[in-house]
């Protein structure tokens, strides 16, 4: 359950961003979360609400966009979606995929601000 640590890191980061921009009234935080990031979406949503209490983000929404796992197939020379997260091979030619293109992201993409 390291989602609480992740949520706290997010809040620290957004608080800093807000200070740098002279104070933001954040209504929602949009996060890109890779399915290969090791972070569970539901656990993070739960932890976020708890971690926000008493912070500038109290009452804000967390909107999570799930990023699929994509590997690069050196044989097809193309990005491919593997059959599953535990089978990192090309769905077309079956070659093992050693390079991960997306799926590891834990990234705040944008903030919704009350105008």
């Amino acid at each position: 359950m390291h989602e609480l640590s992740i949520a706290i890191s997010m809040i620290d980061q957004i608080t800093e961003e807000s200070e740098r921009r002279g104070g933001l009234d954040v209504e929602a935080v949009h996060l890109k979360l890779g399915i290969f990031s090791g972070v569970d979406k539901d656990a993070l949503l739960f932890a976020y609400e708890l971690a926000c209490e008493g912070s500038m983000l109290e009452g804000s929404r967390l909107v999570i966009e799930t990023v699929p796992l994509v590997i690069y197939c050196a044989d097809c020379e193309k990005d491919r979606v593997p059959p599953s997260v535990y089978q990192l091979s090309c769905p077309d030619c079956g070659s093992p995929g050693q390079k991960i293109v997306t799926g590891r992201e834990i990234e705040v993409s944008f903030l919704e601000i009350a105008a």
């Binding site: 890191s9 996060l31 290969f36 090791g38 535990y86 990192l88 091979s89 093992p96 944008f110």
Partner: protein, 228 residues
Amino acid sequence: MSTRMVEVRAKVLKQNDLLARTLRERFRTECTCVVGLVSSPGSGKTAFLEKLLGGLARDSRVAALVGDLATENDAARLRRATPNVRQITTGTVCHLDAQMVEKALESWPLDRIDFLFIENVGNLVCPSSYDLGEELRFVLLSATEGEDKPLKYPTIFNSSDVAIITKMDLAEAAEFDVAAARRNIESVRPGMQVFEVSAKTGSGMQAVFDLLHAQLACARQSRVAVTP
């Protein structure tokens, strides 16, 4: 009420990643080969590490950082092999992060250490998200755990560089299918090096020592290459 969008595009673990990068550069400059160890609780990390430290200490300078939620038990065990052991007790935190490593390293003369091992908290989920600045990450899987662990925890296996199958002396009794375990590791991390060891009998340990010595030689060589 209307809203506007502000683009941020910031990695949530940026602070950790930056600190891990700084640590990695420091380890490289000081020619210390740093290896992280991750596994589930009870897979034999400490026994394996005890053997590693004991074997390497014969001709190298070794040190270890061990992470646990509580107790100094592991550090006390490892001190039988080397006095250079520090325990990180995380309280309730389920993983180590780069800041904990940096803090634990304070006032340690790292330039006089060849191998530093960082034993993470026993957990196959959370440690995968945190870079600690290590050069190599070993993921351990014991012969008593079941061959499909890599498939169940693909993220941590994929984020590691080397897989170590431990407790091989119990493989037969546990009816452990090594070939299936190797297939499963290959499936989640194609091309990964796999070692089969028993810390109890010492079997397979030499191959791990050889890998580590090669890694250290490589680190020294690249240091020579960049030093004018």
